[in-house]
């Protein structure tokens, strides 16, 4: 082994991920505290909290002004009645964002009411234009404490402004006129719905479409122009209150499903799974969707064709908190999901 030599100013730095025990603000210490920053400090005895209290995990704000390496603190508070032992804290950010370390093992144990703080470093990319929601998750696994064995916290941070409406997110040409099929590319292979055949089943630009109790509207744009959203996690402003959010669309290839997250004006959010059958070949109730309209054939780059085969539009919904006002919706991060409209239903 080659002997180590000088390596610069950071060579002697402690590797990130250090963990310190911190006094719990609500705990009453009855024993001497450990030395400051002592990762292996003796646990702090405290007055036992109510037996039903759950372990608390909190993630500090993440500095998203990248590209940079940001420091994140995860605090775990033992709110249970028992001493917390073999505590491990893990932290993760958006996929592809490096974290150092991914897990911190806490030495010693935590008295009831005491807290431990784990420090992580995360690689933050340059801030993207537009609206982003970044999600961070911390998980504590342990023995003792509240007896649950695991506790998780999620922190989401937003930047930018959601798109004004769904039309602002249109990124795909899904409908063409049979006399000009060239611009269409609903499925990534140059195919699209026929405007004539959709009209024949009631889907005309700007006209209402009723589905799952919601009144939606077929995109009010000319054929051969962008009229739907291939979902990629876009955030879209939507105002309303109700019992469910209804989405109008269909799928391409397979696996057209994902999570819709609804953000409310009070800062909270809820989410639900949706899925659409393939516009042609899946069972009409795949993913729990509801058939809205079925058109005959499709437009191909060479012109109208595939007569006799149904090309379909579906509806699906996710529940809303009826007591809250919707502020914006984050679409699934799955390009196979195509959305023509969405609306709040009672």
């Amino acid at each position: 082994m080659r002997p180590a030599g000088l390596i610069g100013s950071l060579g002697a730095m402690a590797v990130a991920g250090a963990l310190t025990l911190v006094p719990a603000s609500t705990a009453t210490a009855t024993a001497p505290r450990a030395g400051a920053g002592g990762a292996s400090a003796a646990p702090v005895a405290a007055e036992a909290p109510p037996a039903a209290a759950a372990t608390q995990v909190a993630i500090s704000a993440v500095d998203l002004d990248g590209p940079a390496i940001s420091t994140v603190k995860v605090t775990v508070r033992n709110a249970g009645p028992e001493r917390m032992r073999t505590l491990k804290v893990s932290f993760a950010g958006p996929v592809g964002w490096a974290v150092q370390p991914s897990t911190v093992q806490v030495e010693g144990s935590l008295a009831a009411g005491a807290s431990a703080e784990a420090v992580f470093r995360i690689q933050v990319p340059e801030r993207r234009a537009g609206f982003t929601v970044r999600a961070f998750t911390a998980t504590a696994t342990y023995r003792g404490g509240d007896g649950a064995g695991t506790a998780t916290a999620t922190r989401t941070q937003r930047s930018g402004t959601p798109l004004a409406n769904l039309a602002a997110a249109y990124n795909n040409v899904g409908v063409t006129d049979e006399s000009a099929t060239g611009p269409g590319d609903y499925d990534g292979e140059g195919n699209s719905f026929s405007a004539q055949k959709l009209a024949a089943v009631g889907l005309r630009p700007g006209e209402p479409v009723t589905a799952l109790g919601a009144t939606l509207r077929w995109p009010n744009v000319p054929s051969g122009t962008r009229n739907n959203v291939s979902a990629a996690g876009q955030a879209v402003t939507l105002d309303g209150t109700g019992g469910k959010l209804v989405l109008l669309g269909s799928g391409v290839t397979s696996g057209a499903s994902g999570t819709v997250t609804v953000h409310y004006t009070d800062g909270t959010s809820s989410s639900g799974a949706i899925g659409f059958p393939n516009w042609s070949f899946d069972p009409a109730n795949a993913h729990g969707a509801t058939l809205v309209a079925s058109s005959d054939g499709r437009n191909r780059p060479s012109g109208y064709g595939n007569a006799g085969i149904a090309y379909r539009v579906f509806a699906h919904s996710v529940p809303l908190d009826p007591g809250k006002r919707v502020e914006f919706v984050v679409l699934p991060a799955n390009g196979n999901v195509h959305v023509f409209d969405m609306a709040v239903a009672p």
């Binding site: 030599g5 690689q123 340059e126 291939s230």
Partner: protein
């Protein structure tokens, strides 16, 4: 020297060693970067040093001092106290010795590929950099390529998901140049193909992949396995195109035409680095990066889209490649946004050379931490000797040294840097 900033320099004064094809072009590049001046030039052939000085003077730049005439003329140049940065563009066999001498003379150093060709030399450069507190970096212009930097930023954004593998290399049909009597002085580069079987020059493709995987910044290259095809390309070319009285007919070529290194990182990623300069083929550095959510391939798309193609979920579906153009625009590195036009006007290799030089000068003038340090440089060049070792062991894996001595676990920024202004020129 990790995270050690340069001392801020009002002006960066460059001394050049080697004014052949590469060195002469880069000398002009240094001279046009704001706040940079070439104060001395050196070549074993004094006439080249003279031409280099003449060229700068003719362009209205201060005339640099000239050194030359012998193999150790550079040592005299290194004694000057008006040189902050030594740029070395000599044949590979001189890089280590000259780079070390420049460090010992108290200069920062930027060396053309490779910085050294033996493991003990690489370690010695690391040690010497640390001991002298001077930076030494590989002049890896391709690390500053526009597509390469966009690929890096896409990786950091997470567009590829968890990056699992990458593929880079240097695939350049150099046969005509290798047999030229004038291009490589004394045919130095061809002679390397008579000495050993090695991946001599894969860094242009390896370095951008390593950067996108944060090698030495959270991951590291751990093991290397090499394979080589038979050495047939140069002999075949000579047979068909080189006169029988040419001196090359006394040579036997031993380096495989295609030398491939499979490198596994500590985090289990795989890098495939290729080197082939002996076969007929269009130019490529490959530049492929893939992960759990997508893939980028350079040199495969239409030129108007930046030459690359991409497929990332959820943006794409249907198993069809998409043009890279919109991604290159969105993830364009600030350096290219800022000086891309200047680069196109001033630098070779599509502007990469100028971006490398501009950024190096900026880092020194502003007193910032280098994007590429001696640890990166050593790691990227280690496949030269390691491929020899693996091939000698019939392709068995060999350990890649950890030149950071454990500090690779620490996340830190590098080429994916924050927008910075060039200090104003007084």
């Amino acid at each position: 020297m990790i995270d050690v900033p340069y001392a801020a320099h009002r002006t960066v004064r460059v001394g050049v060693i080697g004014l052949g094809n590469r060195g002469s072009g880069m000398t002009t590049g240094w001279s046009v970067v704001p706040g940079c001046t070439v104060t001395a030039v050196c070549d074993i052939r004094a006439d080249r040093a003279r031409r280099g000085a003449d060229g700068l003077a003719a362009a209205g730049k201060p005339r640099p001092a000239e050194y030359g005439g012998s193999a150790d003329s550079y040592t005299e140049m290194l004694r000057r106290d008006d040189i902050d940065l030594v740029y070395i563009a000599t044949p590979w066999e001189f890089h280590y010795e000259q780079g070390k001498a420049a460090l010992l003379a108290g200069k920062h150093v930027i060396v053309e590929l490779p910085i050294a060709t033996e493991l003990d030399e690489l370690w010695d450069l690391v040690d010497t950099s640390e001991r002298t507190r001077r930076h030494l970096m590989l002049a890896e212009n391709c690390s500053y390529g526009r597509n390469e930097l966009a690929m890096l930023k896409m990786a950091h954004e997470g567009l590829f998901g968890e990056v699992t593998n990458g593929h880079g290399g240097y695939l350049h049909d150099l046969r005509a140049l290798l047999f030229s009597d004038t291009y490589y002085t004394d045919a130095w580069r061809r002679r390397w193909h008579t000495r050993s079987t090695a991946s001599f020059y894969a860094m242009h493709g390896l370095a951008p992949i390593a950067a996108a995987m944060d090698v030495n910044r959270g991951d590291r290259m751990a093991t290397l396995t090499a394979t080589a095809t038979e050495p047939k390309g140069l002999a075949d070319y000579r047979e068909r195109f080189v006169p029988r009285n040419h001196p090359s007919w006394n040579e036997t070529y031993v380096n495989g035409d295609l030398v491939t290194c499979l490198i596994e990182t500590a985090k289990g990623r795989i890098i495939r680095a290729e080197h082939d300069v002996s076969s007929p083929r269009p130019y490529s550095r490959i530049n492929t990066l893939a992960g759990t959510r997508g893939i980028f391939e350079d040199y495969a798309g239409v030129v108007s889209a930046g030459g690359g193609r991409v497929y990332v979920e959820p943006d794409h579906s249907g198993h069809a490649w998409r043009d890279f153009g919109s991604y290159r625009k969105e993830f364009d590195h600030w350096l290219w946004k800022k000086i891309g036009d200047d680069a196109a006007n001033n630098g070779g290799h599509g502007g990469m050379d100028y971006v490398l030089q501009w950024r190096t000068v900026q880092l020194m003038r502003a007193g910032l931490v280098p994007d590429i340090d001696v640890y990166d440089s050593a790691a990227w060049c280690a496949p030269v000797p390691l491929s020899v070792m693996s091939l000698a062991a019939k392709g068995r894996p060999v350990q890649v040294p950890d030149f950071t001595r454990g500090a690779w676990v620490n996340l830190r920024t590098g080429l994916d840097s924050r927008t910075t202004e060039m200090p104003p020129v007084a």
